[in-house]
Symmetry: C2
Subunit: 149 residues, 2 copies
DNA sequence: TGTTATTATGTGCATATGCACGTTTATACG
DNA sequence: CGTATAAACGTGCATATGCACATAATAACA
């Protein structure tokens, strides 16, 4: 029999997905009061600093471009984000409207409550550690950059 | 100004979602060779031990019952899982077929490669720590059990 | 300048995710 | 036994996710 350190560890991906489901649910219990999803909150936060093109925002959020395209629809429909023409005719600039800024402020309060509740539940130092680990993993696990072009 | 330990930490939920996207992508680069998703692999693995009802499996995977219902379709269509009548007329028993068992064995090899590659990329001890952290978080962050009934 | 490569984006498709609501079948109980 | 409750499951809806493919517009270059 081989030594234990030759066997792969339990599936990290599955655990991660599991925790993400729970965690998302946790945040959204709070965010539901103002009718917004966690991912939408992320978009609002990232746009609050400055307008960006779709691709720029997708890069920041590290999500698929096409996912973002569709995630924007409810935000645009709600009047919080505007899709303006960009520097050249290809680009589209995503802009947070005034109403969007106001709403973001409100949403940030609710998020703050959620994050605080999370830290209360799991322990602040644990959450800090977890954040650091996630951050490290993200830095090491670079995106599957489009097959060596 | 308040001390820093009164401010909430950066959004854990957003980081978690980010990493899950990347991580899923990492695993699925491997799993794609045999045409299966990470979540489907989890289902196969959980069914390989013993047949279970939909609710039992959903509890194990800690995912929404209705999500699982639909996730089963491609597995059933591929002939790997069978939906048999359960103990009483309400229950449906999910059974891994023989072909399903064989496929699971094959898939497990591919998963193993992926997990090993992950450990090579992030460092085995880091992955072990991360697994432990995720596990701990899961144990502390209990499901939003249906509003105190 | 005309052709080619690159950039920025959209759409179709197949899942993943969970809430609200509805249906069927058991079980509890008066 | 009949009715209220609970258990197990399905479906509609709204997003989330990313791949393959298609389009439009700009940049690069012969």
């Amino acid at each position: 029999m081989l030594p234990a350190d030759c066997d792969p560890l339990p599936c990290t991906g599955a655990r991660l997905r599991k925790l993400t489901r729970r965690m998302t649910s946790f945040y959204e219990q709070h965010l539901r009061t103002i009718g917004i999803r966690l991912s939408q909150y992320s978009v609002l936060m990232n746009l609050s600093t400055q307008p960006q093109t779709l691709l720029q925002l997708a890069d920041r959020l590290e999500m698929d471009r096409t996912t973002l395209t569709r995630s924007l629809k409810p935000l645009v429909d709600s009047g919080w984000v505007e899709v303006a023409p960009g520097a050249d005719a290809r680009k589209r600039l995503l802009v947070l409207t005034d109403a969007g800024q106001r709403f973001r402020t409100q949403a940030q309060q609710v998020w703050r409550d959620a994050q605080t509740a999370l830290e209360a539940q799991l322990g602040r130092s644990f959450v800090a550690d977890l954040n650091a680990q996630l951050e490290h993993a993200l830095s090491q696990l670079k995106p599957a950059l489009a097959e060596a072009n």
